[in-house]
Amino acid sequence: MATRPLPREPRGDQKKTKIVERRKAEDWTKPQAMAIPKGGYFADKIEQGRYGPIFPQTPACYGFSVVAKVIPGREEHLYNHAKVIEKAIADDPTTLAILKAHYLRWVIFSIKGESYMMYQGIFDTDFDKYCEDASFLFGKTGIISAFEALEWWPADYATNPSSIVKFFREHHFPSFLEYSEHPYVSCEQVRKALTLKASFSSMLDQMQEE
């Protein structure tokens, strides 16, 4: 396999792991950076998910950076599927609502003549919590079909959501530093703020007509 070794899952007595403390009210006006230990976890604040420990939330929300080698000759398949996904989202903009995704990016790059794909997502919900729903929706949009062009993609993905989670975990490269200009702000908060702004604008327009 061409990608790096897996991020190690932390070991140790489960009873000793602490429940992740809830964040206090965050100040979104104060930019924050967070340095993340090697391996992607804070040893003293590991949250156990149903499919294993959950990568921590940072000021830049939850996310993943999945890198996998493209099966030789399948690169064109990925470009074709970009159109499929574009149409799926155009037809139903709420299709990926479960992820609460800020951004999803697909990048193809080459190392020594071999193609790789990076799939990077920044979202508000941790992937493990909603993995089955996410995999179901990925299947609906064609995102999973795109993954069929990647090496080590599990053959039983349609019937075994845990195999998808395993693939994502094994090909995820955790950040060692994350930054946000507006820390911990969620998609929903952005949407509500813009809705409110539009409402105020509308109100001011209405006032002009008095």
Binding site: R22, R50, D124, K129, D133, F136, T159, N160
Partner: protein, 446 residues
């Protein structure tokens, strides 16, 4: 591979998840098998007493209904070999106690505080007895005690007696909420979904060996004779702090009417069963009792902001209906009842344990039960709430809130206290009838 839905083999499925017998009492006995042959001998003698789905509800006037299920350690104790044991899902192999952090059963709910030996690796089986009345339950208890004494090494670790609480005209729990309102329908049972309950669900969501809602048939534990027509059960013994709950309502509501409204906001239904989405201002007991109407609502269009039923209310978390995706893959069958004496109205907390001892039945503990506990019950950010958990089955330490949306300004109850405590739990495998026979006749692998 897409496969057609086969006929449900009701003659090979235990009755437990198919029908609710008309029982007013129950007894759960948690067993251990010190010797494999003693366990198998016990099982052999119980085979003809186990309720079969096809027979329960027929013309025969039953007065007791028996169900048998095993932990992963119990399957091993009966002699199931290691190769077969390894084919069972990881979460079942680990058992409920080991999954405590995932389930959110932490703090006072942690397995360190559980009773009845349910955390012990020596917990091997459960016998669930539903009986028409206490006399019949006692007769069965004595008969079973005598039978166990003839099975070497088969012993009772602990037991729990359950009784319906008055008034007996409708099922309800100690807080006073009408129960058994969820109307889930499984394809192949012949039942028709009630309005608003969603379409019938593929049998593979509840029974192993059938196609599920993905359209394909999941991989089964081996051998097939052991897993086919089986299900998984998640058992929870949930103590209800009735005195604390009533005190809370009195603190939060100035009048009995206000207190009833707050009780309804926490649940999402009035105690009569009437859903707030259909009866937002005033209770409607006739609606609550009418199974053709009491589930006939959605949230997405009828109550999107939760002005009727709060977004964090128990029934909205446990069944978000049209405001969540993939709902057909999250449904579970619930069974169980109340234990402990009712606390009389206006009586102070008496320190006696009372609550619900219930089972959730499904084909995938991780996808169905654990998802519900991990996300719906205990995720503080559920539907953007921020700092809330299910008011009844979420784990509370006084630091979570409950938001009651209303115009012009919402009401936020800060520092919700725990109205329940998990006192025990376990994962069981509920085998089919042929599988029970297979287990009873297993050669000792030792």
């Amino acid at each position: 591979m897409l496969v057609e839905s086969p006929v449900l083999e009701l003659d090979d499925i235990q009755h437990f998840l198919i029908s609710r017998p008309p029982a007013r009492t129950a007894r759960y006995e948690f067993l251990t098998f010190r010797q494999p042959d003693g366990g198998r001998k016990w099982l052999s003698g119980m085979l003809d007493k186990v309720g079969i789905a096809k027979e329960v509800g027929s013309n025969e006037p039953d007065s007791r209904w028996v169900t048998i299920a095993f932990t992963w350690n119990g399957l091993r104790a009966l002699g199931v070999n290691e190769a077969s044991l390894a084919t069972f899902p990881e979460e079942f192999r680990q058992g409920m106690a080991a999954r405590a952090e995932i389930l959110g059963t932490t703090g006072a709910n942690h397995p360190d505080h559980w009773v009845g030996g349910l955390v012990s690796p020596h917990l091997h089986a459960i016998v669930v007895l539903f009986a028409r009345d206490i006399t019949e339950r006692e007769r069965c208890r004595i008969e079973h005690q005598q039978y166990l004494s003839r099975c070497p090494g088969a012993e009772i670790l602990s037991s729990l007696d359950l009784e319906a609480i008055p008034p007996f005209s409708y099922a309800h729990e100690h807080f006073g909420y009408r129960d058994r309102l969820s109307q889930l329908t499984i394809e192949g049972t012949g039942d028709q979904p009630t309005p608003g309950s969603g379409p019938a669900i593929k049998p593979g969501e509840f029974f192993i060996g059938y196609p599920d809602e993905s359209g394909s048939q999941p991989i089964s534990p081996q051998p097939e004779v052991l897993s086919r027509n089986g299900s998984y059960l998640a058992y929870l013994r949930l103590e209800e702090h009735v005195g604390a709950f009533r005190d809370f309502l009195k603190e939060q509501g100035r009048t009995p009417e206000e207190q009833e409204l707050i009780a309804a906001k926490l649940m999402g239904r009035w105690r009569s069963g009437a859903p707030l989405t259909l009866a937002p201002q005033k209770d409607d007991p006739v609606l609550g009792a009418d199974l053709q109407r009491t589930n006939d609502f959605n949230y997405g269009t009828m109550d999107p902001y939760g002005y009727g039923c709060p977004v964090g209310a128990h029934i909205r978390r446990m069944n978000p209906r049209d405001t969540a995706v993939n709902m057909q893959r999250r449904k579970m069958v619930r069974r169980g009842g109340t234990y402990g004496p009712p606390l009389p109205e206006n009586a102070p907390e008496d320190g006696i344990e009372r609550g619900i001892a219930a089972f959730v039945g499904c084909a995938s503990l991780i996808r169905q039960f654990e998802f519900a506990m991990n996300v719906w019950a205990n995720d503080p950010t559920f539907h953007e709430l921020g700092n809330e958990r299910d008011p009844f089955i979420g784990t509370h330490d006084g630091s979570y809130d409950m938001t009651i949306r209303k115009r012009p300004v919402r009401r936020k109850i800060r520092g919700l206290s725990a109205f329940t405590t998990v006192r025990g739990g376990a994962y069981f495998f509920l085998p089919g009838i042929k599988a029970l026979r297979y287990l009873a006749t297993l050669a000792d692998q030792g």
